[in-house]
């Protein structure tokens, strides 16, 4: 199966949240740039190119949108594993969660999260936030070497 390299990895266990986020991303024309996994385990599989994603092309996403409250391996665990692996730790991770728990914030930043977004209840606000996120991380920001830029191009040393 030919899996395209996408620049955004979204890790979220709620299909509704996924749909909403995609809808928001679509409004920024970034819907096609998203790979969606439903739990932490699959997130790691994708990042390590193992399991069902063993055959995916090499290359890191430009940003990981990570939900925290998830079954199996939860978001904090994924974050910890990403940020402690030399191969993955430079991948920007944006936590997107409904939790404004102080403890989650502290732990996430201690683990080296790059941004922490609390999903607003107001959808319009959410759309705005996602637009900003998407355009920043996937377009404006210089992704780390070895990661996929938007539009499916892998950024090499140029």
């Amino acid at each position: 199966m030919n899996i395209e390299l996408k620049s955004i990895l979204m890790v979220d266990d709620s299909p509704r949240d996924v749909e909403l986020t995609l809808n928001a991303l679509a409004q920024s024309n970034l819907a096609n740039e998203v790979v969606i996994v439903g739990d932490g385990a699959d997130a790691l599989n994708y990042l390590y190119r193992r399991g069902s994603f063993a055959a995916r092309p090499v290359g890191n996403p430009a940003v990981v949108l990570l939900d925290l409250k998830m079954p199996l391996v939860n978001g904090v665990e994924v974050l910890r594993l990403i940020k402690s692996d030399p191969q993955l730790k430079m991948i920007p991770v944006v936590v997107m969660t409904s939790s404004r728990e102080e403890s989650d914030l502290v732990t996430s930043y201690e683990l080296g999260v790059n941004a922490y977004i609390v999903k607003p209840v107001n959808f319009q606000e959410f759309v705005t936030a996602v637009k900003l996120l998407g355009s920043f991380w996937a377009v404006v920001n210089e992704p780390p070497p070895g990661s996929v830029r938007a539009k499916g191009k892998v950024k090499n040393e140029e």
Binding site: R16, D17, L20, S98, V121, F123
Partner: protein, 480 residues
């Protein structure tokens, strides 16, 4: 016929007479001297012999020379003979005494006694004391010893009289002295007895009071022991009480935390679905754009608004529960600066409105600055909100004295006020006294205020009348 007698005859008669006189004198002398025991007298009847009483001379001498008085009395008390000493006692010549009744010399007061004596003497020897008047009027006391005397066939009485006046005086004196002494002894004895009694009763009292003291001491010791026991009990009870208080406090704390955690997680869990509702309504709206009727769009909008409100409610609830769980750091807070910061936020809301602010310099307080800021935001925000119908609106803040060492602060407005009947509900969670149509709000704000002030150890209350404004009070510790 007068015959001249011859001188010779006369001379012879004279000599004869002289001779006879001399003889007579001699005889008398002899008699007086006790040399004559008897007389022979030639009388008309022949010769008569008279024996002189007291013939025996030595006995006469004895009688006359003894110191006592001696009397011979007839049975009815006539003095037949009295010796010289007796006469001397009475200071009268014996001639005056003899032949008189003894009674005549005795003091009238002693006549009965004398009579008794004389009567008694007739049946045996007797003696008694009588007072006798002497010639110069002095009274002497004589002790008479009487006995019977048979003399020449006659039963007479003889009496011996001893002057015991002096003796008697002495006796009387002695008796007086003795009486006196006895009296004094009696007195002294009585005194002694009395003092003895007194001493005894004092001793008794002393013993009693000693006993009383001992009893009191014992009681005191008992009391002290009881008191100590009681104190110990109290101490133990106190400890137990403190322990229970600590336990209860811990329980309450735990319950509070559970509640806060619960309300947090509940509201947190509610946000996700709410977000979804919002999101899908939005997407639906865009999706169905143009294809929805006016009514349809109205329904869509209502769903959206309702979910927005719910969102605000949940956020408020989240904030409220977070307030209870957040750590509080008390520090010296400049209230004036905090108020200014808060007012700054209201500037957009107050633009175009006529609000008269009256805020004098306020004291510095000891509190968590962020939490206190929330309090001010809420109270001042409410004042701004509920004075919207007023022109001008008057909003005042200041101090209203102290309570329990804390300063009482207030925010007062001339807004729509509230019904004091429901004043107690004001600070309840989700309690509102106005509908959302009248004034927006979720009713969490004041509950938050109360929560924060309570955590600072202060008190919140409110006063108001419908349409006559409201005053909200809260107390805080002042900072040094």
């Amino acid at each position: 016929m007068t015959t001249e007698r011859p001188k010779n005859d006369l001379a012879a008669e004279l000599t004869d007479l002289r001779l006879r006189l001399a003889e007579a004198e001699e005889t008398l002398n002899a008699i007086r001297n006790g040399e004559v025991d008897g007389l022979v007298v030639a009388g008309t009847d022949g010769q008569q012999v008279f024996t002189l009483q007291g013939a025996q001379e030595p006995y006469r001498l004895l009688i006359e020379q003894m110191s006592e008085g001696a009397l011979t009395l007839s049975r009815d008390g006539v003095i037949l003979y009295a010796n010289q000493p007796f006469a001397k006692m009475l200071q009268m010549p014996a001639g005056r005494i003899i032949g008189e009744a003894l009674r005549d010399f005795v003091a009238p007061a002693d006549h009965p006694a004398l009579a008794d004596l004389l009567k008694a003497a007739l049946s045996g020897s007797t003696s008694g004391d009588v007072s006798v008047h002497t010639a110069d009027g002095t009274v002497i006391l004589l002790r008479l010893g009487l006995s019977q005397l048979q003399l020449g066939g006659k039963f007479l009485l003889c009496a011996v009289a001893t002057d015991i006046t002096l003796e008697n005086k002495k006796e009387v004196e002695l008796q007086h002295l003795s009486d006196d002494l006895e009296a004094r002894i009696a007195e002294r004895t009585a005194d002694l007895a009395a003092s003895q009694l007194a001493i005894m009763s004092m001793m008794e009292e002393e013993i009693e009071s000693r006993h009383a003291m001992e009893t009191a001491n014992r009681n005191l010791m008992q009391e002290i022991t009881k008191r100590k026991l009681a104190e110990e009990q109290i101490r133990i009870l106190n400890m137990e009480l403190e322990q229970r208080v600590a336990e209860r406090t811990a329980q309450l704390d735990a319950a509070n935390r559970e509640l806060e955690a619960f309300s947090y997680s509940v509201s947190h869990d509610l946000r996700a679905p709410l977000r979804h509702v919002q999101g899908y309504v939005d997407m639906l709206g865009r999706e169905a754009e143009g294809r929805l009727s006016e009514q349809g769009r109205h329904y869509m909008k209502t769903i959206g608004d309702a979910s927005l409100e719910m969102g605000v409610l949940i956020d408020d609830l989240l904030a409220f529960s977070r307030m209870g769980r957040a750590d509080m750091t008390e520090t010296k807070v400049n209230l004036d600066t905090l108020v200014q910061d808060s007012l700054h936020v209201f500037e957009p809301a107050t633009r175009g409105r006529n609000i008269v602010w009256k805020i004098p310099p306020l004291p510095a307080v000891q509190s968590d600055p962020a939490m206190l800021r929330l309090v001010l935001d809420n109270l001042l925000g409410n004042a701004v909100k509920f004075t919207r119908p007023r022109d001008p609106a008057h909003i005042e803040m200041g101090c209203a004295g102290t309570e329990d060492g804390r300063v009482i602060l207030f925010v007062r407005d001339n807004g729509v006020g509230f019904d004091p009947q429901y004043g107690h509900k004001l600070f309840g969670v989700f309690q509102r006294l106005h509908t959302t149509e009248q004034f927006e709000g979720t009713g969490i704000g004041l509950a938050n205020v109360r929560r924060i002030i309570t955590r600072h150890g202060g008190r919140t209350w409110a006063e108001g009348k419908i349409n006559e404004g409201a005053t909200f009070y809260f107390t805080l510790k002042t900072a040094q």
